[in-house]
C-alpha cells in the first residue's frame, strides 16, 4: 500500500483512509482481519446491543440495479461476546477499531459505554440511526436534535474513548442534528446510514421481497445523496467526518474527501467488487493523487464550505 495514503483520524495514524463500516463482515474477529488484509485502514464492529439479537427473518437483503436493500435487524451476539471478538482481533492487530453500539435510551447507552470502556476498542460509535427496527423501536433517535444532544452529553461524561455519532440521512436538516452532536461533545460524525427505507415487490407472489417489508438502501444509487449530506454537514461542523454511502471506486472516495470527509466508509462495494475492493480503491486513490500531483492525502482539497 502506498505511503501516500497514510493519514490521521482522531489522533490515530492509519495506513489507509478506508473504513469497514458497522454491519459489514464484522460479526467475528476473523471477518475484521479479512477486511484489514484486503486493505481497510479502520474497522468497525457490528452494532452491539446489551443482549444478543437474532435479527429479522429472511430475506434480509435484496439485490437490485442500484445497489442493495437490507433489513438485517441489528443481529449481533450482544455486547459481551461482541467485545470478546474485538479483543481477540486486537491481540494480533494494531489497526484502530470502532465499536458501534445501539440502544434506544440513555441508560442503556451508558451501560454499553461502560462495557466498551473496559475493552481494547479505540473509538465508540453511537448508532443513532438504524432504519430497520422501526416496528420495535420507532423513529431513529437521530431524527431529533434534542435526543441526539442528550445521549451524546450523557455518554461523553463517562466514555474513555472518543465518540463518533452515526447519523441518518432520512432527516429534514442534517446540519442541525450534526451541530447538536458536536456541541454535546461528539468527537466525530459518521454518515450516512442507509437511505429510505425502501421496498421491493415480488410480482408473481405479490409479496414484499424483504420479510421486514422495508429496508435501508445502500450502494451506488445513494452516493449523490451521501455527498450532499456530507458536504452540508462539513459546512456546519468542525469535527472530522467518516463519509460513506455508495463508494465503490477511488473516484467516489475522492469525491467524499472533497465533500468534507476525513476518512471513507466502504460497505456495499464489498458486494459490488468483491473483498479486494479496499485494495482496489486504495490503488485508485493513489493513481488519482499521482495524476493530480497530490503528495499526501491531506493535500486533496475540500470544497469551499456552504
Amino acid at each position: 500500500m502506498s505511503d501516500k495514503l497514510k493519514t490521521k483520524f482522531l489522533g490515530k495514524t492509519i495506513k489507509s483512509p478506508l473504513v469497514l463500516p458497522a454491519g459489514i463482515m464484522d460479526m467475528s474477529f476473523s471477518g475484521l482481519n479479512y477486511a484489514v488484509q484486503n486493505g481497510a485502514g479502520i474497522v468497525t464492529s457490528k452494532s452491539l446491543t446489551l443482549e444478543p439479537r437474532m435479527g429479522h427473518k429472511g430475506p434480509v437483503v435484496a439485490e437490485f440495479e442500484g445497489g442493495l436493500l437490507n433489513c438485517m435487524g441489528l443481529c449481533n451476539p450482544g455486547i459481551e461476546d461482541g467485545l470478546a471478538e474485538i479483543n481477540q482481533f486486537k491481540k494480533h492487530s494494531d489497526i484502530p477499531v470502532i465499536v458501534s453500539v445501539f440502544a434506544t435510551n440513555i441508560l442503556d447507552f451508558l451501560k454499553l459505554t461502560k462495557y466498551v470502556n473496559k475493552s481494547k476498542a479505540d473509538f465508540l460509535e453511537l448508532n443513532l440511526s438504524c432504519p430497520n427496527v422501526f416496528d420495535e423501536f420507532g423513529i431513529p433517535l437521530s431524527a431529533s436534535k434534542e435526543k441526539v444532544g442528550e445521549i451524546i452529553s450523557a455518554v461523553k461524561k463517562i466514555s474513555k474513548l472518543p465518540i463518533i455519532a452515526k447519523l441518518s440521512p432520512n432527516v429534514y436538516d442534517i446540519s442541525e442534528i450534526a451541530l447538536s452532536a458536536e456541541s454535546a461533545g461528539a468527537d466525530a460524525l459518521c454518515l450516512i446510514n442507509t437511505v429510505g427505507p425502501g421496498m421491493l415487490i415480488d410480482t408473481k407472489m405479490v409479496k414484499p421481497v424483504l420479510f421486514n417489508k422495508f429496508g435501508g438502501l445502500s450502494g451506488p444509487c445513494i452516493k449523490p445523496i451521501a455527498l450532499k449530506l456530507i458536504y452540508q454537514t462539513y459546512s456546519a461542523v468542525n469535527i472530522p467526518i467518516i463519509g460513506m454511502g455508495g463508494v465503490k471506486s477511488g473516484e467516489d472516495a475522492v469525491e467524499m474527501l472533497m465533500a468534507g470527509a476525513t476518512v471513507i466508509g466502504v460497505g456495499t462495494a464489498v458486494y459490488c467488487r468483491g473483498i479486494e475492493v479496499f485494495n482496489k480503491i486504495n490503488d485508485e486513490i493513489t493513481k488519482f493523487m499521482k495524476e493530480e500531483n497530490y503528495k499526501k492525502l491531506s493535500e486533496i482539497p475540500k470544497l469551499k464550505k456552504l
Binding site: 454491519g23 476473523s30 435484496a62 439485490e63 437490485f64 421481497v209 468483491g274
Partner: protein, 260 residues
C-alpha cells in the same frame, strides 16, 4: 447483480421420511457444490445445495429440520417459491481416480458432482452413508450412474455396517485416490480429515447464512474470516487445515458461538 427468480415447483419426490427433492424448470447457471437461497416470503430465506442441474432444470434436496422447511414440505406442485443464486465456490472437477464420502442429507450434492465428474471421465468411488436404512437416500440414483458405489449404515440395516469414515479409511489404505470430496456432518468430516493422509481434498461446509453475498459476516469462519457464502461452501485442503473453528464451534443467527 444476481437476479431473483420466482418459480413454480415442477416436481416433488419424497426420498424418505423427512427428505424431499424439489425440481424447478429453469436454466440455472450452477456448478457442483454451489447453493441457492430460497424463500416463500413467509419468514425465512435459507441456503440449499443443488442436487442436480441440467440445461433446463435443477433440483434441491431438503431435510425437514425446522419451521421453514416444515412449511416448504407443505408446498405442492405449481406452488411458487423465490430463489436467487447460484452462489458460492464449487468443487474441483478432477479427471482422475476420486473418492466421494457423503453422509445423510448432505449426499445429494454428490449426485450433481458425479454427473459432472463423469463428463470429465473421472474414475469415481462413492461412499453413501446414513445412520439407518430409513435415512439412507439416493441409492437408486447413484446406481444408475456409471460409478462404484458403497452404501453404508451405522446399524448395518443397509449396505456395509459402519460409519463412512471407517469405510473410507479402509479404501484409502487399499487403493490410490488422487482426490477426495466430502459432504456431511461436520464431526464426520473432522474425523475423516484424520484418515486422508496425503490425498488432496475438498469439503463442503455449512454455516448460518443470511445475505449469501459476502457482506453480513454471519458465515465467516475463523481465523481467516473466509465467508462461507463466497469463498465457500466448498473449501480446499490448504484452507481447511488453517481453520480453527472446524469441528469446534459455529455461529448462530446472532453471531454467538455455539460449540459442537
Amino acid at each position: 447483480m444476481n437476479k431473483r427468480f420466482t418459480l413454480s415447483i415442477a416436481k416433488i419426490v419424497e426420498e424418505t421420511k423427512g427428505i424431499k427433492t424439489f425440481t424447478f424448470k429453469h436454466k440455472l447457471d450452477a456448478k457442483p457444490g454451489q447453493f441457492i437461497m430460497l424463500t416463500d416470503f413467509e419468514g425465512g430465506e435459507k441456503p440449499f445445495s443443488i442436487s442436480d442441474c441440467t440445461e433446463d432444470e435443477f433440483s434441491i434436496t431438503v431435510k425437514k429440520i425446522g419451521e421453514f422447511t416444515a412449511r416448504l414440505f407443505q408446498k405442492r406442485i405449481e406452488d411458487y417459491v423465490s430463489i436467487r443464486g447460484a452462489y458460492g465456490s464449487s468443487f474441483f472437477i478432477s479427471k482422475n481416480k476420486v473418492l466421494l464420502v457423503g453422509g445423510g442429507y448432505a449426499i445429494p450434492t454428490f449426485y450433481f458432482l458425479s454427473k459432472i465428474l463423469l463428463k470429465n471421465k473421472a474414475d469415481i468411488t462413492l461412499i453413501n452413508g446414513a445412520r439407518t436404512k430409513e435415512e439412507h437416500i439416493f441409492a437408486d440414483r447413484f446406481q444408475k450412474l456409471n460409478i462404484k458405489v458403497i452404501n453404508a449404515t451405522n446399524d448395518g440395516s443397509f449396505g456395509e455396517k459402519g460409519t463412512v469414515v471407517n469405510v473410507a479409511k479402509k479404501l484409502i489404505e487399499d487403493e490410490n485416490f488422487d482426490f477426495l470430496y466430502a459432504s456431511g456432518p461436520e464431526m464426520m468430516m473432522k474425523t475423516l480429515q484424520k484418515v486422508c493422509g496425503e490425498i488432496e481434498y475438498e469439503f463442503l461446509f455449512e454455516r448460518y447464512m443470511k445475505c449469501a453475498i459476502g457482506i453480513c459476516g454471519n458465515c465467516t469462519m475463523d481465523p481467516l474470516g473466509l465467508r462461507l457464502c463466497v469463498e465457500g461452501p466448498v473449501l480446499p485442503k490448504k484452507k481447511i487445515k488453517l481453520l480453527t473453528e472446524f469441528g469446534k464451534y459455529h455461529r448462530d443467527a446472532s453471531g454467538e458461538r455455539i460449540k459442537y
